[in-house]
């Protein structure tokens, strides 16, 4: 417990100190890299909420990540071109305001998650993995062939959206926004993991019969968890789109779902900070190994393999001990 606390603090500290250092030596790219890690971490935290706490192994979280991205892209695109998103039955205009975009991304992702969840939760285990994948794949194929927003080519939003009082094009300021969101999301997930809901959700994952016998309905717990999970990942998608100032169907691809899942597993399933550690390590590896050789994926694979084989429970399992602390 103490160890885990220390690790959490160190992680957050490094994540803050590194970009500040990069800023001081004028390496904006490194700030962007850290921002990228943070955005992926948020996506991972979202997935972890369903996967780690609720045992809902979703291979379709790209659906929410992509939706968040497309919310940003579509709204900003219409704001850029001064065309309404929708003219009927009510007029909706585009926007370039980050907070508005986030709220819409969160709301729509939660809504989509409720829809997908309500259907998918009839199944369980591997069937659940595959049915969530199916939903994401459909969105993927849909966006690829949907010409309005660029199809497979995606859509560039040349200027980052605005946040009151900040210059979002400045890497360090955009980083600060993402970092603050990370902290808020972490705080929420941390509280939720210790809350009545967290306890019930965890019990439901371990034994549905048990949770029913104490008078609760697993389906409602799962659906709520899935919606929250989708909302967080959707928010990450919106941030990711703003980070790249670009959206494309790749955000919906199963590789994206897989990558988000890798962050979670790598960091430690069911640990509040696990996905943060996972995303940071993954980005770090990608960044440092990429230059080594054309065949750097081999090294990456070998390292990941080493982590699974020798570190039970991911990085957090390795450093902070195997057992997940629940209280």
């Amino acid at each position: 417990m103490r160890k885990e606390f220390f690790l959490n603090a160190a992680l957050l500290g490094v994540l803050l100190a590194f970009p500040l250092w990069a800023w001081s030596v004028d390496e904006p790219y490194l700030i962007t890299l850290a921002t990228r890690a943070i955005v992926f971490a948020i996506a991972g935290i979202g997935l972890n909420f369903a996967l780690g706490f609720g045992g809902l192994v979703s291979l379709g979280h790209a659906a929410f990540f992509g939706l968040g991205g497309y919310v940003m892209g579509v709204l900003a695109f219409h704001a850029q071109t001064y065309t309404p998103v929708m003219g009927w039955p009510l007029v909706i205009n585009g926007t370039k305001s980050m907070p508005t975009i986030w709220l819409i991304a969160i709301a729509l992702s939660a809504l989509l998650a409720v829809g997908i969840g309500a259907l998918s939760l009839r199944t369980s285990g591997v069937y659940f993995i595959m049915i969530t994948l199916a939903f994401a794949q459909m969105l993927y194929y849909f966006t690829i062939s949907w010409p309005t927003y660029g199809g497979e080519d995606g859509l560039s939003i040349y200027v980052r959206n605005g946040f009151p009082g900040l210059n979002t094009m400045d890497p360090i300021q955009f980083f600060a926004i993402c970092y603050a969101i990370l902290l808020i999301v972490l705080a929420f997930v941390f509280a939720a993991s210790r809350s009545p809901f967290g306890l019930a959700l965890g019990a439901s994952r371990q034994n549905e019969e048990r949770i029913q016998a104490v008078g609760q309905v697993p389906f409602r717990l799962y659906l709520t968890a899935f919606a929250i999970s989708g909302a967080i990942t959707g928010l990450a998608g919106a941030l990711f789109a703003d980070l790249n100032r670009f959206i494309s169907p790749t955000m919906f691809s199963w590789q994206t779902s897989g990558e988000i899942m890798i962050f979670v597993i790598l960091g430690g399933v069911g640990r509040v900070f696990g996905p943060v550690a996972g995303a940071v390590l993954f980005i770090l590896l990608e960044h440092t190994l990429g230059g080594l050789s054309e065949f750097w994926h081999i090294y990456l694979g070998a390292i990941l393999l080493g982590v699974v084989l020798f570190a039970r429970g991911g990085l957090y399992g390795m450093v902070a001990g195997r057992e997940v602390a629940h209280d």
Partner: protein, 305 residues
Amino acid sequence: MSLILFIEQALNGLQYGVMLFLMAAGLTLVFGVMGLINLAHGSLYMIGAFAAAAVAGATGSFLLALVASLVCAAFAGVLVEFFVIRRLYDRDHLDQVLATFALILIFSEGTRWIFGSFPLFLDKPDWLSGTVMLPFGIEYSLYRLWIILVGLLVAAGLFWMIGRTRIGIRIRAGENDREMIAALGVNISLLYTFVFALGAALAGLAGALIGAIQSVQVGMGEPVLILAFVVIVIGGIGSIKGALVGAILVGLTDTLGRSFLPSFFGLFLEPSSAMSIGASLSSMSIYLLMIGVLLFRPKGLFGGI
């Protein structure tokens, strides 16, 4: 649309289904029966295709190439099982996901390192080339007919092994409770190595057979992997019969969707949008099928408990 074309497309769908079954057969075995999520199944498929291409290139013999695909993939399977998978049986499914994802990276780039970045040449042998005339004047590829035959043979063999032999019973028992089956005196480790190797060999064989009419290149395994998962989930995990039925359903849906959806939309939309709407819908069709099946049968068509 003529009836003949419809029959021909249905036949194509069936054939595509059997091809999908070949890809999925090894996966059902390993996944359904051993309860192991093996994302590297696609890599074993790729290894089979590359081994076949290399041997066919060197010897010119297609049969030798098939043997090579079986042997190499099985061997890779044994290595993987022994060094990696074996340590993961009593772990979470998610650890298996991460480990086998890592294996994909290693295998893909390893293959590219050995064979280079360009697709390889692998062709069917002369004695399987050309077409035959079927009733109704349908001209059909001999090789594709041959694949149907091999696929059905594999299905029958697996069906018999899993359902009727003691090895099959033991494998299934091991999936349920590894510790207990060992405590009853069954060498489950060895058995699992065998099953994994068999699954790998089947993947490799599929890679070689299908590689002969598709492209043999790095990354060929991943799309197949998804399809194969779709197939076995529709059919019900652990059921060979389910995999076969699921594969044929997917094959038919995909093929018929591709060939007739655009003209269907053409009935009431202008041609170019009918074309693209039809095409997008048909690329989603198998996922729609899967969702539909799972909504009514949450454990797949032939899924057990």
